[in-house]
């Protein structure tokens, strides 16, 4: 555990000494702020035309905002994970990590938790927008909490995928492009399904990472979706672990 924390600490410091972290954070804060504002004004306008039926303005805003966040994040994940192993390979520092008294699994977990910590910082910045809903309205806590939980699970799954991809190359850009491709595929896979009634279609739409988020956004916490994300995370970490083992054979 101490070893994992040492790696997380080093990685976090390294994130914040490189410009990448600041660019990613700035872009994310900017985009999420702009979208929040747009969604808010749209919902307010809609509410003013809605007639006698009461509308849950803060609820609608947060649900739409969280959905939009998930799309913005799809573009951000590759930038968080691209350097995790590829840079270690390029600089030769991987030789230090793999000959220190650490297990390969501790190295993988350290890198993974570093990316998750950085992601948590990103998610935390959205609290600024969300807090306005609490200042000017009285939104229900439940759906917001499940939406954040959903985004967190969705994030760790895709970060694990990106972590694996970064073990495959020494080049950060290639790692970023490859993981972006992998994420797009996991996102778009349901469109490939076409006919959702067929078995293949059902399987493909099950694999879509975004589909599983809908429940969380609506305030429903379903075990099956939690299991989906955790399985994807486990798969990503397992592949990373095996890839490092293979790296030793090729080094």
């Amino acid at each position: 555990m101490r070893n994992v924390l040492a790696i997380v600490g080093r990685e976090m410091r390294s994130y914040f000494t490189s410009p990448v972290a600041y660019v990613v954070l700035t872009m994310f804060v900017l985009l999420s702020g702009v979208f929040f504002q747009a969604i808010l004004s749209q919902v307010v306008r809609y509410a003013s035309f809605a007639g006698p039926q009461p509308i849950d303005v803060p609820g609608l805003v947060s649900e739409n905002f969280m959905g939009t966040l998930s799309v913005i994040l799809l573009f951000m994940f590759p930038m968080i994970t691209m350097g995790l192993f590829s840079e270690e390979k390029r600089r030769g520092t991987i030789e230090l990590l793999l000959t220190a008294p650490l297990t390969d699994f501790e190295v993988v977990l350290g890198k993974f938790f570093a990316s998750v910590s950085f992601y948590a910082v990103m998610l935390a910045t959205t609290a600024i927008s969300m807090s306005t809903l609490f200042i000017y309205g009285d939104p229900a806590w439940g759906p917001i909490a499940t939406a954040y939980l959903g985004l967190l699970l969705f994030g760790i799954a895709l970060l694990a995928v990106g972590l694996f991809v970064s073990t495959l190359t020494e080049n950060q850009i290639i790692a970023a492009v490859l993981s972006f491709g992998a994420i797009l595929l996991l996102w778009m896979v349901e469109f490939l399904a076409g006919n959702a009634a067929s078995t293949a279609g059902q399987v493909l739409s099950y694999l879509s990472v975004v589909n599983h988020l809908e429940g969380f956004m609506g305030g429903v916490l379903a075990t099956s979706h939690v299991i989906f994300y955790l399985s994807l995370t486990t798969l990503g970490l397992f592949l990373t672990y095996r890839s490092i083992e293979a790296m030793r054979w090729k080094a």
Binding site: R13, G92, L96, P101, L102
Partner: protein, 320 residues
Amino acid sequence: MIEVEHLTRRYDRKAAIEDVTFRVETGEVLGFLGPNGAGKTTTMRAITGYIPASEGRIRVSGFDVFEHPLEVRRIIGYLPEHPPLYPEMTVRGYLRFVARIKGVPRNGTDDEVTRVMDKVSVADVQHRIIGKLSKGYKQRVGLAQALLNDPPVLVLDEPTVGLDPKQIHEVRDLIREWSGRHTVILSTHILPEVEQTCSRVVIISRGRIVAVDSPSNLVQQLRGADRTVIEVVGPREEILARLVSLPGVLNALEKDSKNGEWRIEVETRTGEDPRPMLARAIVEGGWGLLELGSSTMSLEDVFLELTTEDQTQPRPGESE
């Protein structure tokens, strides 16, 4: 103690090292000598557990590298061929990180980092960013990293690369200081380094060991004859004829000439110093003796002889 037995490592069927066997006793400094691509780095990586062996086994202080990787890594300090440095970190920050993953207790970290920085004299740059340091400093930070937690076994892949002559001297002194307490394997292609620091040498060529012995024995073993170089003024034929007729002289060869001065290399049977006899012969002949010097075979010659010709059969008495 390090025991390497029948170590073979293949990449896509091609063997980088084949059937390498040697031992390093506790407290011994072993030099690993060989041309580039001979398999030095591969052997060292296998010992540190960075790469698995295709065949054979390695034990460090009794622990099998494959079965007990963590125990082995805990007792080895390793300086890879390219120092594994994070360029965005400060020297102190980097060493603190390495100390932590090497298991230095948290409250002893600062003292330990200070200790190794003093050892390799990098304390003056401890707050600088590693990426901005000169090559010599980077190499020494790499060395400092290997010394953290005072490991009993040190594996150093070309420890003096990139250092200036004064620093090379300091590092050699350090290595000599360790001998006795630490077991050291170092690789190099700088020959004086081996002669000055190592008690034993392994010469490796094309993935195979071609010789294991002490530096002086290796020189002795391969030296069939003493060579003496004479610079002399006089008639060439007469001088050569006189020299060859002397007792113990095997051959006399003209090497060079200018304005009636001859440079002659005389090969004599090993044993007695032939120089007084040669000098007397030339003076008695009435010729002018300008220079007389012995040229013993250096480790460099041994190295070249062993690694340039195609060696498939080890010479008798060379491998353990």
